[in-house]
Amino acid sequence: MEMILKKDRLGEWAAKLRGSAEVFAPVFADDSWNFCKVEPGAELTFDHGNTVRPAKGFVFPQREVLYRFRQESGEAPQLTPTLPADGPAVVFGVRPCDGRAMVRNDKVFTCGFADPYYQARRDRVVFVGLACNAPPSPNCFCLSVGGSPHAGDGLDVLMTELDGRYHVKALTAKGKEIAGIAEALFDKAGAADSSEVEKVHAAARSHPQRSIAAMEKVAEGLKRNFDSPQWDTLAQACIGCGACTYLCPSCHCFDINDEVSSHSPLAGERVRTWDNCQFPEFTMHTSGHNPRNTTGARLRQRICHKLLYFVENHNIQQCTGCGRCISHCPVGIDIVRVANVMEEAAGQ
């Protein structure tokens, strides 16, 4: 179902949606773009490149209370699961790389043991994607990892900016539903619109972006170079700060801790929080033995998880090429450079 929405009607669509859901969109604040709640009447514009923090936060927040526990002395503890209860949300301006990351997150959280907290949030959020007519960041490389500036997987709606109007394509039932709510605002997309969209998408694909030379050889290169000393030289500048994984749309590692609010009677919450394979003590055993105690080993884990292990387990890369881990690394650690180095090494 393909439609056309005039640019000046975007605000009205958001207003209609606000009746039944919270509306989020990229907003420029504190010198960077991030998804924020769009207040009624606030202007909705899309010249954001990509947001600093990915759309991952809507389905996998940094802090999730798993359940509350309370225990009167001498009695059995009461556990009250706290499944997320926030209402439906519509997120505008989601780039295709964040959308494709949702497909990866779905694989992690719903295959095997299904995670009810993730599922509850995932069912209630609608991702309205915006195709990239030009690469949002100098470090984009989605084409190298099987994506494209107008890929729709993981998104519910894909919008493409044309002059003065948006081409809106509903991809899922949820997408059709939120388009249906504001039926009157849309016009039918004619043949001219469709051909213009094709031209814009083709132009977007032809834009130069960073590239991993031979992606299919990278996995082999990573496996063969597992013990290569190059990992330590590549990670020599790494300070183990964790920004790369916290800002990655498909990183999902977490920690579980108890937060006690009172000791008698014992009461508190068991909380899941983001965690990070670049922190030194992420894999520290209680005996003090740490299988990955150098920055080189930890960088290897991050790169191999994205470009080798996920391929071996699900035969797709976990990395979707958004480039956030490159742009926001304080010391310039660069997954594209590491992949190319390891791919060349595969040649020898």
């Binding site: 420029f28 504190d30 010198d31 960077s32 773009w33 010249d47 954001h48 490149g49 600093v52 923090r53 940094q62 802090r63 030009a134 690469p135 960041s137 100098p138 470090n139 030289t233 020599q236 500048a237 300070i239 183990g240 700060c241 964790g242 920004a243 916290y246 800002l247 920690d255 801790n257 937060e259 909380v271 929080t273 983001w274 990070n276 922190f279 030194p280 003590e281 992420f282 520290m284 209680t286 005996s287 003090g288 033995h289 105690n293 150098t294 490159i326 742009s327 926001h328 690394c329 304080p330 010391v331 310039g332 650690i333 660069d334 594209v336 450079r337």
Partner: protein
């Protein structure tokens, strides 16, 4: 301007003569507009060394990291490290010497003067380009900075893009160095010292409280500010109560009775605790290299906390960090003239 060829020549000589284990400098990066740290061991690689407005990293951090790495990997090479040090970086090395975390013979300091220039601030650059990423930035010689980005180029007045610490910097060259490049310029034509922190300090308590509550609420506790700070060299941070470094001799009691000063989740109260405890641990030690503010992915103006304490230390205790490796530290010294009226 500092002639980069002199630095390259000196670095090459130091490596060829075997006087130093490796040279820590800057080279062009692939990831962003900023130069990246370079660990040069082969003399011919010194040709890649650069020095310009994008060399923002404080390389004193890698003196600390190399010292830790040597301790764990027990490498026999005990030759010193040569490090390129701007004014603020040089003062950070001086504080490390003052706290004898590193010995004077373990480091060869290649002091460089920023003269009347300075380093760019990636957040201000992002503000000037409204969120787009820059791919190049250089002084254009008459008070402006030429900024390149994917779709073109623009020139911006230097004051609008230079880091706040450089605008407020009064001594743009290190005092302690083995070799020195550039001229020692003292009067700099930008803004007076502590401009940024005074602007916040003058606000009303409610405004300040809302200002900081908003920032602490956004913190994602990725600990980039602590990881990039050369002064935060403790193996075990008091704040890391949920995951701390253990070794085979750590007893079960130590692990069981470890106090959890703050919770692992990034809630506003725990974030406020973390940032305040870190700031107080940097009182009289932070040399305002601005790295914590630069690396913060959610743009929290962390520098304000440290420069506020730095101003108090200067005005109330006449103490400035990083000027002399022999001076006692702020917290472990006192004077009779210290303020006493607040005690009642």
């Amino acid at each position: 301007m500092v002639a980069i060829e002199d630095i390259r020549a000196r670095a090459k000589e130091l490596l060829e003569s075997g006087k130093v284990r490796s040279v820590l400098g800057y080279r062009r990066g692939t990831a962003s507009v900023l130069a990246e740290p370079a660990f040069v061991t082969a003399p011919e690689d010194t040709a890649a060394l650069v020095l310009d407005a994008t060399c923002v990293e404080n390389l004193a951090l890698y003196l600390v990291n190399e010292k830790k790495r040597q301790k764990t990997q027990r490498s026999q090479d005990t030759r010193p490290l040569a490090v390129v040090a701007k004014g603020c970086d040089g003062r950070a090395i001086t504080v490390l010497l003052q706290e004898n975390y590193i010995k004077r013979d373990e480091v060869v300091i290649l002091g460089v003067s920023c003269e009347n220039g300075g380093m760019i601030d990636t957040h201000k650059l992002s503000r000037a380009l409204r969120g787009k990423a820059a791919t190049g930035a250089a002084f254009d010689g008459n008070g402006g900075i030429k900024v390149a980005f994917t779709a073109g180029e623009t020139t911006v007045p230097a004051a609008e893009v230079l880091a706040a610490r450089c605008l407020e910097c009064t001594k743009a060259y290190p005092l302690v160095s083995d070799y020195f490049f550039g001229d020692k310029i003292d009067e700099r034509s930008y803004s007076p010292r502590f401009t940024a922190v005074s602007a916040i300090a003058e606000k009303s308590p409610e405004e300040r409280s809302a200002f900081w509550a908003g920032h602490f609420e956004r913190c994602i506790r990725c600990y980039a500010c602590r990881a990039v700070c050369p002064m935060c060299y403790c193996d075990e941070c008091v704040v890391d109560s949920t995951s701390f470094i253990v070794n085979p001799t750590t007893s079960a009691d130590e692990k069981a009775c470890r106090i959890r000063w703050i919770q692992r989740s990034a809630s506003p109260s725990e974030n406020a605790m973390y940032h305040m405890v870190r700031a107080i641990h940097l009182a009289g030690r932070c040399t305002d290299c601005g790295e914590c503010e630069r690396v913060c992915p959610v743009n929290i103006p962390l520098r304000l906390l440290n420069t506020m304490l730095e101003r108090e230390a200067l005005e109330m205790f006449e103490y400035a960090p990083g000027l002399d490796p022999e001076q006692p530290s702020l917290i472990s010294s006192f004077r009779d003239g210290d303020p006493n009226d607040f005690i009642r």
